[in-house]
Subunit: 132 residues, 6 copies
């Protein structure tokens, strides 16, 4: 289904191999998912994307589990089938409970509904919501 | 800017007034933002929308502050200008810190970038991410 | 707010003028809205767009009022502020009642909510819904 | 392909079963499509969603067939593959003719084209289209 | 997977056949892809769509290869899986190199990221970017 | 209109100032547009974003003018009003002619129309378009 081949470990450059090694070490698993195998065609983009996600999705002011739930919310609204699948799996792996997932789904639904209503009605922004 | 009038307190029905009263009580403030003034044209939709948000965005498995951040993430990806403004304001009112907001923005940006790459590459979903 | 000038009647080519004349005759009004004044920079696109809409939005298997409501539904989901404004106005001019408008808004909201849920859940299409 | 299991009749709660019974009675058919089988994981959301659609998509100011066509229009613009499939099937079941479907498709195409042009040109809204 | 049948050469009208003949001649190939086989249900739309693409995507001020890359960019941002697949293939057939493709992908990713940031921040347009 | 203040030169950190200096030097102009003034709240994101765009949008396999046109195409499809304005201005500054701009607009319109049709019809991808 991809528009370019998904590279096996035997087909990648040493630069891509170094990123795969880091992904495996970070996850404690040999599994490399298709997104990285597609990006491996362009080792510089693979490196930059991994470096950004590794830092950005790690511990910070927000809990990594919450970060993954935010990623699912954005991916779903953007209609990215692949990303919804992969980040829902990661959110679960990072401890998202069934109750939390139900609330995430409810917010995705509610927000999409009120987003649509506000857009259909073209409601003007209240001055109270503007930065000075 | 709206496609229908925003109703003042003097123009609404008793059913809409009852909802406005609940919103004011829940927030401890007299301010009613434009979204509700637009929905007041249709008191049944106003009531249903308020009832759903009141419950759905209140305390639960997830912290209300995190819920608002999820709402901002969806609203931003859906391109709803009104909703981004209003829910960013509410998230701050519920205690979102500058550091948390910076991480929210970073995730919105990263997710949108990798969403776009996965879509442009049409990466097939790994069987590992499917529910059995 | 536009990225190119909106042309006045004095600034347009004879080809664009001919389209403006047809729009005025079709509507029985002298008013030319900004979309056409922007397109007038490129008379060939102006002509092709007007010709398509004139035929496509006129009487057919569907009532012109229903056609405008479908146009509002698509425009709202696509987040086109200009088009939501203009086609809501035209739908009203073609007889959309307040009750019909309330149902249109309700469907836009409901559909956006269930669209979001189906996408977040990545629900597989039932074979019953496929063309043979 | 889903991110959570589609429940069989043997796996659902009594609350979910009650909703399935209502869906079957309303449709005069034993078939329960995957969307409801996915939502059955969360009986409260299943109930709320069915109740809303049952009322909202039934007879009203607009013909149920027209309502389904509006649903297809929104679902298509939102890129919801599942919803396009299911609501196109329902619209046909409710009597949408081939001629009406051809006009629906034409409007979806035309609106998407002019939506894109108005957005690319950032055409400002005419004051004539604003509510008072 | 389609919501209507893909027509074989034996099932199409003479009007649709004439368009298929033109597509085959223009491409120097017997292959007719599924998009045209779906549109063949409605020969008038098939004709209008082919006529517009034949002219619009041919040589002009922009190189046909660049035009296909722009088509991929729009299709990807619109989340059209079919169109991403078909126009990526055509762009390659028209000479898009691996280096050009890598830059196209990088721009799709970067633009989606900054689009998301500008929307999340609701950055106001600088007067310097407005026409006149 | 923003959800956070746009910082003046007097309000930014030395790290942000260093980026502003680079932007001014690269453009040969003192003008800093609002996107960067909003990002200046978070100097690390400001730096990362500028570094990526500076390299990614500079000379490469593709002409910088073509790169800006691709950016406009993505931004328009993503509905980012700010980005459409700013990158249309930059594309013109980098030499985009009126004829090229007319073709860009035509492709944005055509692609959006056929994207919508392919999505509404749920046309299955031809095996010929898949990477082996």
């Amino acid at each position: 289904m991809a528009v370019l081949p998904l590279l096996t470990d035997d087909e990648i450059t040493p630069e891509a191999r170094a990123v795969f090694d880091e992904i495996r070490a970070a996850r404690g698993s040999d599994f490399i998912n298709n997104f990285w195998r597609a990006l491996a065609q362009d080792p510089a983009t693979l490196r930059a994307t991994w470096d950004r996600l590794k830092v950005g999705m790690g511990p910070g002011a927000l809990d990594p589990k919450v970060k993954e739930m935010l990623y699912v919310a954005v991916s779903s609204a953007n209609g990215c089938s692949y990303c919804v699948h992969s980040h829902t799996a990661v959110a679960r792996a990072k401890g998202m409970t069934e109750a939390e997932y139900a609330e995430l789904l409810a917010i995705i639904g509610m927000a999409s509904q009120t987003n649509a209503l506000a857009t259909a009605l073209q409601v003007p922004v209240d001055p109270e919501f503007e930065a000075d």
